[in-house]
Subunit: 184 residues, 2 copies
């Protein structure tokens, strides 16, 4: 897929992850990332607001994947079908080809409390945005809010398993949805 | 003035909330809070690390309330009973007497993105700590992780309703747990 070919943006991401891994996130500067990717600092900042955003570049796409899933569901879909539809959007995102990158990225995040906070805030934003989409789709509160929380809980738990096990995220999420139904 | 005068901490909290509300969080300094409470700046910093922590003072107590609930549950309790037990701990915390303070505090937080982030991180820490407590109580993963997420989803949704409606948080949480069971 073209997204993993060495375009400038992708070269910057690969260079950044390599430096974050070998040298540490704090010890790496945007200037060094630009140099390692063979571009100017100015070019770096045309692509990313700061070095942290190199790691969180996919956030908007992830949110959009969830929303696209909800959008595609029928207007009168029950809550669980909407949750399932939202989660289905992630399968095209977390492919087997992406796993090595995601694993290395996670190892960088696990070593840095500030990045862990950023990741947690990302989940909070996703929950809020998904809740709004579910309300727009006709779910009333508190069902919409609880459904959004449940979807993100399933996704984030599934993501952790997906990083460790060589299985598709759609299969893991389907399993976790069944686990949720045994819980309640 | 006595160093550990009873009520100092509470006076600082009341003074801080009043200043945050009338003047704005950003525009208020720790020195001004101390002066309004009739104590020295030094005394302020014996009680709170910074002005933000005046608003998040209850975090440890809230986490402890959740953990105490889990602790009290029988060793072989099923997941939903553990979730219910964890949530039961919050009833002694969010009393009707506390509601005016909580409402004013929430209004301050709603006007400040940085404080909203702090609140979301608080929920993330609560989820993680509760997950560990549930694992210690014998739940295996992914059940423990999903149960922790579900409990915090129910709590945070219930908290929003509790702020608006004059009902007990235990009643609201029981309702939301039933809603969760209709979702899955």
């Amino acid at each position: 897929m073209a997204r993993w070919q060495p375009g400038t943006r992708e070269r910057l991401q690969v260079a950044a992850l390599e430096l974050f891994t070998t040298r540490g996130f704090e010890q790496t500067t945007a200037t060094e990332i630009a140099a390692a990717a063979g571009v100017t600092e100015r070019t770096f900042f045309r692509h990313f607001a700061d070095k942290r955003e190199v790691l969180f570049d996919g956030q908007d796409l992830l949110v959009e994947a969830f929303l696209a899933g909800v959008e595609k569901a029928p207007a009168d879909a029950p809550p669980l079908e909407l949750v399932t539809a939202a989660l289905a959007g992630t399968a095209g995102f977390f492919t087997a080809e992406r796993r090595p990158w995601s694993r290395t990225r996670q190892a960088v995040i696990d070593r840095n409390p500030g990045l862990q906070e950023r990741e947690q805030l990302k989940m909070a934003v996703l929950t809020q945005t998904l809740g709004e989409a579910l309300r727009a789709k006709g779910l009333a509160d508190p069902v919409a809010t609880l459904a959004a929380h449940s979807a993100v809980a399933v996704f984030s738990t599934a993501f952790g398993i997906w990083l460790r096990e060589d299985r598709g995220i759609d299969e893991i999420q389907a399993e976790l949805l069944r686990t949720m139904s045994t819980l309640f």
